[in-house]
Structure formats: structure tokens, C-alpha cells
């Protein structure tokens, strides 16, 4: 007997050490998971915050009547065809008066974003008095200048690893010394759609596309899913058929999202001839995908309504349908809402099925109907990531930030609904 006690006493310390170690393993596991989350979010914020600013260059522009309106007609159509690039080039040439070589001049004219030509045109169209006058303006710099300006470490890199040549760097330094280079809010990012030039590309087109897509999704999936949930939970007889429906719904919830994309491609696009890349098709595909989520949420929240409510209603002479429709369903609405919002936020982040039905097209216009080609927020992120130009890296991260902001908003709203309206029985 003593011998056993001895062994126990001897090993006790070791066992306690093991105990502490095991507990720490658990803590390390959680800490790692949280650390990963933190790293992901912080790298994205770190890279993305730069995209909210863009670089501007201050230049004195001379609105030369010879270029804008040589015939002095003041006609809108003539002004529209004027060479506004030349105005900017002339002013750049004057600023950097030591540059004479043709090749270098061409590089110099790439400093200013091509979108400024249209801006100048609109400015002239609005105020024709400007023709023949000089004016100092801040013009949007092109993406390469912007990247260099935002990442000062790049200036130290050797020439071949840098986006711009030594000469160009010298020009930037001249702009900096004269205080003619500034960072300001990037308006294009919030109000424009996609573009080939990073400094002109914006997120708004894809936000609108996502909105249209989700609208279709909600319109289709919410009524169908709630109806199906009510039927299966409250009214359906328990038989083989309803079991089969249930198995189907559970399976549908586990089907990889890309398979829904293949379904959309084969059936909606090829069989039914719906337009490619359109939010209506994207919405239909995502609706099928969110259907099981909302059905399951509906059933869970119907289940949490106590049976006494149904019994009271039926006891007072209501039919089963009336009891559900007038009493149980209204009580379950907050839970259904929460489930719906969560399902919609999942649909917002989903991109794989949208790739299949062609919502990856390069779309410059902001869509205005359900049948026009559009892209969605996560797909835009994917598109920007796949573009080679360096300026798109920051845009992609900023796009991710916008997407996450929408998701946080939606999930926050779901939490709010749950706390505010959901009853605990």
C-alpha cells in the first residue's frame, strides 16, 4: 500500500506539470487563431488606408484659345474635340523647362492622369470665360507617381526595381521642393466604377452591382425560404416526402458555392438565355445558395416559440393555419430577420458563383438596371488583385476594407435586431 502511495506522490508533480502544459496548449491554440485574425485585418488596413488618398500636382495651366477653340466659335461640340492633353503637356513643359528630349517629354506627360483631360473639358464647358486665361490648378497625378509618393521607401530602391526612372524621380523631387505635390482624399475611389488606370478606378460601380444582386437575392430567397420553413416546421405532415425535402435542404446547405455557379451557367445562361454578367442571374444563383440558410433560421426561430401559444390559439377556435399566421409567425419574425441578414451578408461576400456566370467582366459604367452587365464587390476585389499594375494593390486592400465595413454593418444590425426584438421564453 505504501508503495502505491509513494509512486503517486512521486508522479504527482509530473502530472501537475503536464496539466499546466496542456492548459497552455489550449491557450496557445486560441491565441494563434486570434493572432491570425489580427494579422489579416491589420495588413489589410495598413495597405488599404493608402488608397483613400491620391496624389495631386499643382500646375499653372494656360487655356490657349489656339488649342481649345481656334475658330473662335465657342461651340460646345468644337470644344469637346479640342486637345486638352496638349494644354497639360504645355504647362508641364513650362514647369520642367530643362526637359527637351522628345522621349523624356513623353514620359513627363504621363505624370498627370488622363482623366484630367475630361475634367478640364467640363470646366471649360461650364465657364467659357476661362479660355485665354491662366489658372493654377491641382491635377490628379498618375498611378505610378501616386505609388512612389505614398511609399517613400521606393525612392531608395535601385532604378530597375522602381516604377519610375531616375530622371522622373528628379522631377518628383523638384515638385516636392516647390510644394507642388500634395496628398488629398481620393474621390474617384468612392464615386467611380472600374478603370484600367488605378488612379481613376473606383468601388462605386461594384457596390451598385452588389446592391442589385443582393436585392434580387432577397426578393427571391426571403419569401420562398420563409414559406418553406413555415410549411416544414408547422404544417407539413410527417412523412417520407417531407423527410426527403429536409435531406435536400441540408445537402443544399453543404454544396460548394462554385457548384451553384455551374448550375447558373448551365441552366440560367445556356438553357434559358438570360443575359451574361447581369445582376438578375447573380441574384438568382445567390438566392438558391442562401435559401437553406434562411430556411434553417426560420425553422429554428419557429421552434423557439412555445407550443402554449399555438395551443391557446387553437383552443380559441383558430385553425392551424390561422394560429401560425396570426400568432406564431409574428413572434418568430425577429429570429427570421437575424437569419436573413446573416444569409445576405454571406451572399455579399460570395464571389465564386459570380465568376461562373460572367460577373467578372471589366465594367466601366455604373449599372442602372438588373439586366445590364455588372460586377460585385468581392469580384471587383478579385479583379483588381489579378491586375498587374502596382497601384491596384492598395485599391484591392481598400476594396476589402469597404467589403468588411458592409459586412460589419450588416452583422451589427443582425446583433441589434436579436438583442432588441428577440424574446426569451
Amino acid at each position: 500500500m505504501n508503495k502505491t502511495l509513494d509512486t503517486i506522490k512521486k508522479t504527482l508533480n509530473k502530472r501537475h506539470n503536464k496539466e499546466t502544459r496542456f492548459k497552455y496548449y489550449g491557450i496557445i491554440g486560441i491565441a494563434l487563431a486570434i493572432l491570425f485574425l489580427f494579422i489579416i485585418l491589420s495588413t489589410i488596413v495598413f495597405q488599404g488606408k493608402k488608397a483613400f488618398f491620391s496624389t495631386y500636382i499643382q500646375l499653372e495651366l494656360f487655356f490657349d484659345p489656339q488649342i481649345i477653340d481656334p475658330d473662335d466659335t465657342l461651340n460646345d461640340d468644337d470644344i469637346k474635340f479640342a486637345n486638352f492633353k496638349k494644354i497639360i503637356d504645355e504647362s508641364l513643359k513650362k514647369y520642367f523647362d530643362d526637359v527637351t528630349e522628345k522621349k523624356e517629354l513623353r514620359n513627363l506627360s504621363k505624370f498627370i492622369s488622363s482623366s484630367e483631360e475630361e475634367n478640364l473639358m467640363n470646366k471649360i464647358l461650364k465657364d467659357k470665360e476661362l479660355i485665354g486665361k491662366k489658372k493654377v490648378l491641382w491635377l490628379l497625378a498618375s498611378s505610378n507617381i501616386d505609388v512612389i509618393n505614398k511609399n517613400p521607401y521606393m525612392k531608395e530602391l535601385p532604378e530597375e526595381d522602381r516604377l519610375i526612372s531616375n530622371v522622373e524621380l528628379k522631377w518628383i523631387k523638384k515638385l516636392e521642393i516647390n510644394n507642388d505635390l500634395k496628398s488629398d482624399y481620393n474621390k474617384n475611389f468612392f464615386f467611380k466604377a472600374d478603370s484600367t488606370e488605378p488612379e481613376q478606378a473606383g468601388i462605386w460601380g461594384s457596390v451598385v452591382g452588389s446592391f442589385f444582386t443582393l436585392f434580387v437575392t432577397l426578393l427571391l430567397s426571403f419569401p420562398i425560404a420563409v414559406a418553406a420553413g413555415v410549411f416544414l416546421e408547422e404544417l407539413a405532415p410527417k412523412n417520407k416526402f417531407t423527410d426527403f425535402v429536409e435531406v435536400n435542404i441540408n445537402n443544399l446547405a453543404a454544396v460548394p458555392s462554385i457548384i451553384f455557379g455551374l448550375l447558373g451557367l448551365a441552366i440560367f445562361l445556356n438553357l434559358m438565355n438570360f443575359p451574361r454578367s447581369a445582376p438578375i442571374v447573380g441574384g438568382m444563383v445567390l438566392a438558391l445558395m442562401t435559401l437553406p440558410t434562411i430556411i434553417i433560421a426560420t425553422r429554428a426561430s419557429l421552434k423557439s416559440v412555445p407550443p402554449s401559444i399555438r395551443e391557446a390559439a387553437i383552443g380559441l377556435g383558430a385553425t392551424k393555419f390561422q394560429a401560425v399566421n396570426h400568432h406564431v409567425l409574428p413572434l418568430a419574425i425577429p429570429g427570421i430577420m437575424t437569419g436573413t441578414i446573416i444569409g445576405m451578408s454571406r451572399a455579399l461576400g460570395e464571389s465564386a458563383p459570380l465568376l461562373m456566370i460572367g460577373m467578372v467582366a471589366f465594367i466601366v459604367d455604373i449599372p442602372s438596371t438588373f439586366f445590364e452587365p455588372a460586377t460585385a464587390l468581392p469580384v471587383q476585389i478579385y479583379l483588381w488583385k489579378s491586375t498587374a499594375a502596382r497601384g491596384f494593390v492598395e485599391l484591392t486592400a481598400a476594396g476589402v476594407m469597404i467589403l468588411l465595413a458592409f459586412l460589419i454593418l450588416m452583422n451589427g444590425f443582425a446583433v441589434f435586431v436579436r438583442h432588441k426584438f428577440e424574446k426569451k421564453w
Partner: protein
Amino acid sequence: MGFWSFFIIFCILGYCIHWYAKNKALRYNAKIIKEPKLPSLPSYYGIYSFLWFLLPVLSILLIWFFSKSYLLDYILIQSIPKETITNFDGGKTMMIDVIKSINPEKPFPGTDPNMIESAKYYNQINFNSNSYVFIFILIIGLLLSLISLKKISTFFQARQAVEKTNIKILLLCSIVAIIATIGIIFSLIFEAVRFFEKIPFFDFLFGLTWSPQTAIREGQVASEGTFGAIPVFSGTLLITLVAMSISVPIGLLSAIYLSEYAKPYIRTIFKPLLEVLAGVPTVVYGFFAAITVGPFLKDFIGLFGFNIASESAIAAGGVMGIMIIPFISSLSDDVISAVPQSLRDGSYAMGATKSETIKKIILPAALPGIVGAILLAVSRAIGETMIVVMAAGIAAKLTANPFEAVTTVTVQIVTLLVGDQEFDSAKTLAAFALGITLFFATLFLNLFALKIVRKYKEQYE
């Protein structure tokens, strides 16, 4: 008539019909002096007539919606003179596409004037057909609902009729899930069969080279793309394995800690935080893997003198592992919590420490459930698309080295189908063959996992 004006008229008409039928029932009741009055409440007669308006309108609208393009194509073909069709090389469908793409206001110079005429005609019927059909639908619905008004009498039980119809509508809604499943299976099988007509089934399943680049012109060297899917499957497995080797230990340890050690308030903080990982869209993980993890691993391992691809399996798999942590942790948390307290108490009574209880009693008892959770996570991992599309390779390579770039089933589906493609080449059809493999693989994994989990749950309940 555009869609929105149709919608507004539809709503107004629907409301009027409901109101009129209800009032008619009220008037009917008022006229009756001797009992019995109408067997149902007046509003049910209103709803009944409204249903007679709504359902025909909805069903014809749906049919129109899905058959419109076929009908218009048919009408267009009928309108084109025979000679124009025979003169056009490329067949009818090609011709229709060409006509649709013509802008009659500003046709390209040199376009056949007959075609421009057809394009004008098409735009016209495209625009007008909607109006005609909308008006037709509204008239049909109105007529039917007016006929249903005749039914209002003491012999007609409107409530029963309405409830029966409503339950049928609900039933129809729940059948949508079945229709979706059937749609998936049939669309995949249909296209996959066309693929297997070109490429033998066993060549696909057991072939060792995957290079789907079909020839651009005939007689080109290597004109037949080869579709041996083994490298693609092995790549998927490799990435899944990497993902699992990260997510299983971390997920399991956090589940054990949260369910056995953590105080309730710690649990309420960290459990939702872990769930956040599951809520982050996969495209975000893909971006993180491609921009941050890939280059970092390349530089880091480069320090030791090894050379790895920046699209290595370990980068994509590792990030996918992070994504899957919450699946494993929350599912195993559930099964660990489901182990009855009496088992723990028994073990403590024998003098075991907490960790010994967990290792020797709880984990073995919860093992089937944990295996089920891992299987569910595996099925998530092989179906995951965006992370691998953004961070894994495109070229299929048969290797077990996680530092090399491999490709997966989902990456291949995306690369084969994105971009304009004709729909009868082996290349695009191959995507459906891969799709059906993926569908059945995940289906069986899920069914199997759910079966294990359910069987295990019954043991203790």
C-alpha cells in the same frame, strides 16, 4: 408598358379585387335575414378572389420570363427571308446572335441591309412583346377573378379553400430545394456526359497529365488537350492536407480550452471572435494569401537557401486552414460539451487530473463527433474556391511537395470557364466533369460525417 408600370397596375388591381370581393361578401351577409350567413369571414372571400388574380398572373409571368428569348428567336427566324439564312454561313443561332448585336441606329459600315432590317424588327418586337404580354396577363387575371366572384354564396367555404391553396403554395416553395438539387445534378450530368463522349471516362479519372489547352487551329501539335485528372485531384488533396494540418490542432485545442477550461466570461468573448474568422469573405483570405503570405514564405524560406514557388501549396493551404479553424472549433466544442458530466465526475473520483480526464475519457468519448467535424471541414476545404484561385497555381503538377505550386479542382473549373468560350469544346465541358466529381465528393463526405455525428449524439441522449 414597362415592368414597373405593370407592377403598379398589378398592385392597384389586386387591391381593388380584394376590396370588391370583401364588400360583396359583406353586402351578401347584410341581405340575409334568416341564418345561416356566409360560412367564412368576408375577408376570406376577398383573399379568395385575389388569389384567383395573383396566381394566374404569376404563373404566366414566370412562363413568359423563361420562354421569352426562345419565342423571340423563333419569331425573328420566321421573319427573315429564306435566302438570307442560306447565304449566311455560320447557321441560324450564329445569325441570331449577329442580328441581336447590331445597333440599327449606327450599324457598322458594310452590314447587310437585310440584317439591319431584322435588327430593327427584333428591337421592335423585343420592346413591344413585353407590353402585349403584360396587358394580356392582367386581362386574364382580371377575368378569372371576376368569375371567382360568382362563387360567393352560403354554400361556398372560402376559408377552407384559401387555406388549402395557401398550404399548396407553401408546399411548392419547399419543393424549390428539391428542384435546385435536381437542377444541379442534371445540369452537371448532362454536360459531363457530353464531355465523356469526347474523352473516355477512365482516361479522365486515372490519367496522369492535365493540360486542357485544346488546339487553336487544326493539325496543331498537341492539338488534343489531355484530361487526366489525377494531378488535379492530388493537388486538391495536398492543399486540403496542409489546411487540415493547421486547422485541426488549433481548432481542436481551442475547442478543448473553451469548453473545459475557460471561465464563462472568457468563453463569451473568444467564441464570437473565433466565429469572426468564419465570417470573413473568402476573397479576403485569397487576397491575404496571395499578397502577404505567398511572398513572405518565399522570402522567409529563401533565407535558408530553399527555393519555393510564390504560389506554393503551403501558402494557399495555410490560409485556408485559418479559415477552417472556426468550423472545427465550434463543431468539436458542441460534441465535447455533449459528453455527459457523469463521465468527467467518474474520472475525477478516480483521482485523474483535468488534462488526464480530457485525454483519456472525453476525447475518446467525443472522437466520432470530432471525426465528423473534421470530415465536414474537409468537404469545406475541397469546395473552397476563391483562396485557391487567387493563391494557388494553374499548372497541374503531380507532386507531394507542399512548397511547389499545385492546382485544385475548383481552380481548374474557374480557369476553364471564365472568359468567352464556345460551349461544346472538351475544354469547357471538362469543367462540368470536374464539377460533378466535386459535387459527389462533398455530398458523400457530408452525408457520412452527418451520419457519424448523429449516431454519436443518440448514444448519450
